[in-house]
Amino acid sequence: MLDPLHNRATNWPTDGPSRVPLWIYSDPDLYARELDVIFYGPTWSYVGLASEVPERGSFKRTFIGERPVIMTRDEDGKINVFVNRCAHRGIEFCREHHGKVNEFVCPYHQWTYDLKGNLLGVPFRRGVRGQGGMPGDFKNSEHGLPKLQVAERNGAVFATFDERTQPLAEYFGDEMLPYFDRVFDGRRLVILGYSRQLIPSNWKLMFENIKDPYHASLLHVFLVSFGLFRVDQPVKGIMDSTGRHSVYASMRGEQKSTDATRDMRNMLSDLKLNDARILDPVREFPGDVTVAMQTLWPNLIVQQQSNTLATRQIIPRGPGQHELVWTYFGYETDDEAMRVRRLRQANLMGPSGFVSMDDSEVLQFNQDGVKRYPADQGVIEMGGRDTENTDHGVTESAIRAFYKYYAQVMEL
């Protein structure tokens, strides 16, 4: 079909997921539909870590899609997620990222909610001196804050607006769970800090980036020069049965030239750190894998690169930009040396990361290109045209799998 207003196709190219139509990165109508179908639909969105709300009354303000929500810990020690929008007149009443309260009070007319989002009180409900007041049949119980379904797995908290969403474990699938549980292994998590960046690209480009081991050996001079991730190292690319989630896992190699490094024009094999403490990894997980980057549909990247661990939460902010919230963490069992090691290795990641800054810069270039040529297509053919798991990193199959699923969900 051709959209007469925009003079471009509105469906997926017949070649399948080895072609990506560029209009999907900037089209406002499609974006609005993505919010409804994906972010507010039957998906589990990451909202935070249980350690962020350690005590009764602790809260965290966050977003699912563009919708503001609040995560709290209530009197019973249970985690709740409800909408951050007063049931009265629609005020986004909670403005702090984190805090601790006994109840939430909307500043406008002081409607008051408990830690579960139930409406506790409405000022002047019975009127003043016999005048005004809410109608006699007004019931607090009918005007609470809409509550989301919540699921927690080993300290990571997910929520969904849709009651039909399948159970979390089933949603992740048997292929993803071992990698998820590898980092979230049940130990109590300790928050090390946050960084937030506003990336001027469509949210899907962020996912593509993590599902793309092809670029990692070429764009990231720092990464390849220190052997943190390279195409000539063993790489496993695994997807769930739907193609929406994926993980890339690899083993740190040596800092040496091989026949594969000839194509890595930017590799600096004589690169030496003046202070080696930045890259002083200690093996802490079972097995040989030293880096595992997992993408969980629709808003989470789980990062384990050496000893730097983080969740990266995607918050779409219109078709052309998204916020990426990095929450770095360690474990309660970490000693001081490990805590500092994680803080040092965080130099690799985030808005100023030796590795990650290349990505957010290139995503800006990516958006600048795709938004101006909406009628054209991207070519996703590295490693073939299929969507299978691979035991190497010379592939874009996880991107194809992602778009195969995306096109199906969005009915394109």
């Binding site: 990222h97 984190h98 928050i191 090390l192 800090g193 946050y194 960084s195 937030r196 960046q197 506003l198 990336i199 001027p200 764009l219 001079v221 720092f222 020069s225 930017n266 600096l268 690169l271 750190l273 003046n274 202070d275 403490r277 930045i278 916020e323 770095y328 803080l343 040092r344 965080a346 130099n347 985030g350 808005p351 100023s352 030796f354 800054m357 290349d358 957010s360 810069e361 290139v362 800006q364 270039f365 600048d368």
Partner: protein, 173 residues
């Protein structure tokens, strides 16, 4: 209308001149620091620090929560050199012009071997096809060592107020 002499309420001329002079000297040194960053002489940047030093850029959020994590964390001049090298040789980023504005320098404490100072920073970024934008604003908390007739940072902690970084912070503050 009151005509009382303003000199009566001022501190003694000597002490005041000393502190004005110290502030002016630090201010001039900070101008050299800005000149180094804005002039894209990132190789020279580590020389503004002691060999044993600590440099970090943290969002206000982490600062308030008592969380150490920073966008950049350098625990020695050697680590600053690695950062400078990465900016010059390994990082990929688009062309940009960065201007730093440091204002409101105050000296909190001035011992012979250590000065504690604070100032505001404003960073303005200009990229191609874009108007200049306020990139970051915040306050720096510095411990400065007098070295001969100049200074070096012992610690420099830049706290930015926005929490949100417009894409990437390449050049340090």
């Amino acid at each position: 209308m009151s005509t009382s002499s303003p000199t009566q309420t001022l501190p003694s001329a000597d002490r005041r001149d000393d502190s004005v002079l110290l502030r002016a000297r630090i201010d001039a040194w900070l101008a050299d620091y800005v000149d180094c960053l804005d002039g894209k002489r990132i190789d020279d940047w580590p020389d503004f620090f002691n060999e044993e030093c600590f440099y970090t850029i943290v969002p206000k959020e982490n600062d308030q929560l008592g969380l150490e994590l920073g966008l950049i964390r350098c625990e020695s001049r050697a680590m600053l050199k690695d950062r400078a090298y990465a900016i010059k040789k390994t990082a990929m980023y688009g062309p940009r012009d960065i201007r730093h504005f440091f204002t409101g320098l105050v000296v909190r404490e001035a011992a012979p071997d250590l000065i504690r100072a604070e100032s505001n920073f404003l960073v303005v970024e200009t990229q191609n096809d874009m108007l200049p934008r306020v990139f970051a604003v915040g306050r720096s908390y510095d411990e400065i060592t007098p070295v001969g007739d100049s200074f070096r940072f012992k610690t420099r902690r830049c706290v930015y107020t926005s929490n949100l970084i417009p894409n990437t912070l390449i050049i340090p503050i």
